[in-house]
């Protein structure tokens, strides 16, 4: 356990160095969130009745999404892992007395958390003070906020567990940038990255809400905004727990198998 904590700490300290990049990211995400919200408000004006969430809920959804982008978006890959596999440096990794799955898992979680911490606060600060209808609000009550925190942690776990599957698949394909792009795009769409799940047509929505993708950003963002509350929130968190366990188990087993067969090419 201590070793994993060390991995986490090293990675965290490494990522937190890039403050200028984070500042540029903050401005970008702020502008992006603002445009998203203007788009939703254009639709809201067309027909408030057809809007499946309250407007305040979508405002909170978008701001939290922009603030915690690094936690929940699949496309923040850990490029070092791909390189390790492609260059053969994996041989050193395997020589270490540390479970590789756990190590990579910690590393990914650390990078995402560090990136997120750098960016989230300034974005949230601005989102809370801008005047007008686009201002962000606190969640309905403290209980809901705790549920959000729990759900956010689980969601991060599910996202990382999913990307582990993609890393492991690199053992077999070596280079598949196209696959990676495709996986990230489809997953983020199904997780409500483009349009929140309540806006999906009912039939599609029912199916998607059972998948592991709904256990990603969809859940914490909607819990924070109050779109999911009470028993639904508890059920949602249960679903997240289930998918986290399932994905970690599959990934871990698959990794054991892949590592037994892995051939490091060249010296």
């Amino acid at each position: 356990m201590k070793a994993y904590l060390a991995v986490f700490r090293i990675r965290f300290a490494h990522t937190i160095q890039y403050r200028a990049a984070a500042l540029a990211g903050v401005v970008t995400q702020y502008a992006w969130g603002f445009m998203e919200l203007l788009m939703f408000s254009a639709f809201y004006r067309v027909n408030p009745e057809a809007f499946p969430m309250t407007f305040q809920q979508i405002v909170n959804y978008i701001w939290i999404q922009q603030a915690f982008l690094a936690l929940f978006m699949t496309w923040f890959w850990e490029n070092e892992i791909f390189e390790t596999i492609n260059t053969g440096a994996i041989a050193y990794e395997m020589a270490r007395p540390l479970d590789l799955y756990g190590r990579w898992f910690c590393q990914s979680v650390a990078t995402r958390t560090a990136r997120c911490l750098l960016r989230a606060l300034p974005i949230l600060l601005v989102a809370f003070i801008i005047p007008g209808p686009l201002r962000m609000t606190l969640p309905p009550d403290a209980g809901q906020f705790l549920l959000f925190l729990l759900s956010a942690v689980l969601s991060l776990g599910v996202v990382v567990a999913f990307s582990m599957l993609v890393y492991i698949s690199t053992f077999y394909t070596l280079s598949a940038v196209g696959m990676r792009v495709m996986a990230a795009v489809v997953v983020d769409f199904l997780a409500g990255g483009t349009v929140p799940l309540p806006f999906f047509p009912p039939a599609i929505r029912t199916v998607v809400e059972l998948t592991p993708f709904a256990a990603m950003q969809n859940m914490p963002l909607r819990i924070y905004s109050g779109n999911i509350a009470g028993t639904d929130a508890a059920l949602g968190i249960g679903l997240q727990l289930f998918w986290l366990a399932a994905l970690v188990f599959c990934g871990w087993r698959w990794m054991q198998k892949a590592l037994q067969k892995v051939i490091v090419q060249g010296g």
Partner: protein, 258 residues
């Protein structure tokens, strides 16, 4: 021009060496814009119109932006990876050669996998052109062509500015993504839906609306003045500040050393 075609054929052949990888990358690019379309469709399905535009009309605007962006990105991809060209010294080598710098940078890299998006843009046009109920007189066809061509130039200019910033910062500036990728993403809808301030910005500062929103009004017959038809040409003025900025950057450029 002949030299450019030669480079073009080299790039085509080199990307065809890895056919599977190329196909997957193209498919990946296609999926990126396809999910954007799916999201748009979900929204339009629920609300039917936005700011008075129906689905086919929105789709015309979207496909113009997507086509223009894909053309610009295929041709001017090198500006996108300009930080690499600068930091590995490739640019210093280019300055030694007796050819235009912009030409050389353009020729250094072309990314054909971006064509995946063109397929989708064409499909959307194929649906929207008859479904929009527009009577396609020659002047309307000309308008559509102007929109796409001028749009590609404007996006190209944005890439050029992005590269010029690199002269000062060495690293790429993430904020420019709001204008390039953001222009593509938010160009799904006619730019007017984002409110008056954003529209003003996209008219007078970064002229994305000049080749999308205003001529679209002319296409669907909401505005009949010929003025709207030729607004895309006005957006070409953006070339001057973009090129000027590039020149300033170039004058300030000091090699990164090796």
């Amino acid at each position: 021009m002949k030299l450019y075609l030669k480079y073009l054929s080299i790039h085509v052949r080199s990307s065809m060496q890895y056919k599977v990888s190329f196909a997957l990358l193209t498919l990946g690019q296609f999926m990126v814009s396809f999910t954007a379309l799916l999201g748009l469709w979900f929204m339009m399905n629920r609300f039917h119109t936005v700011a008075g535009f129906a689905l086919p009309e929105v789709l015309i605007g979207f496909s113009v932006v997507l086509t223009a962006f894909s053309i610009a990105e295929t041709v001017a991809r090198a500006f996108d990876v300009f930080p690499v060209i600068i930091s590995n010294g490739e640019f210093d080598r280019m300055m030694m050669r007796p050819r235009g710098l912009i030409f050389q940078v353009l020729a250094a890299k072309m990314e054909f996998s971006r064509m995946g998006r063109l397929v989708q843009a064409a499909a959307m046009l194929a649906y929207a052109i008859p479904a929009s109920g527009i009577v396609w007189t020659p002047d309307k066809i000309l308008t559509l062509v102007l929109m796409i061509v001028c749009g590609a130039v404007v996006f190209g200019c944005l890439f050029l500015i992005y590269a010029a910033i690199t002269f000062f910062t060495i690293e790429g500036l993430e904020f420019m993504n709001v204008l390039t990728d953001g222009g593509r993403e938010f160009g799904r809808y006619p730019f007017a839906i984002y409110g008056r301030e954003v529209l003003k910005f996209l008219t007078y500062v970064v002229p994305l609306a000049l080749f999308q929103y205003y001529p679209l009004l002319y296409l669907i017959g909401r505005e009949t003045g010929k003025f709207y038809m030729f607004l895309p040409l006005v957006s070409l003025l953006f070339v001057f500040p973009a090129y000027g900025f590039w020149r300033i950057g170039l004058r300030n450029y000091k090699s990164t050393g090796s």
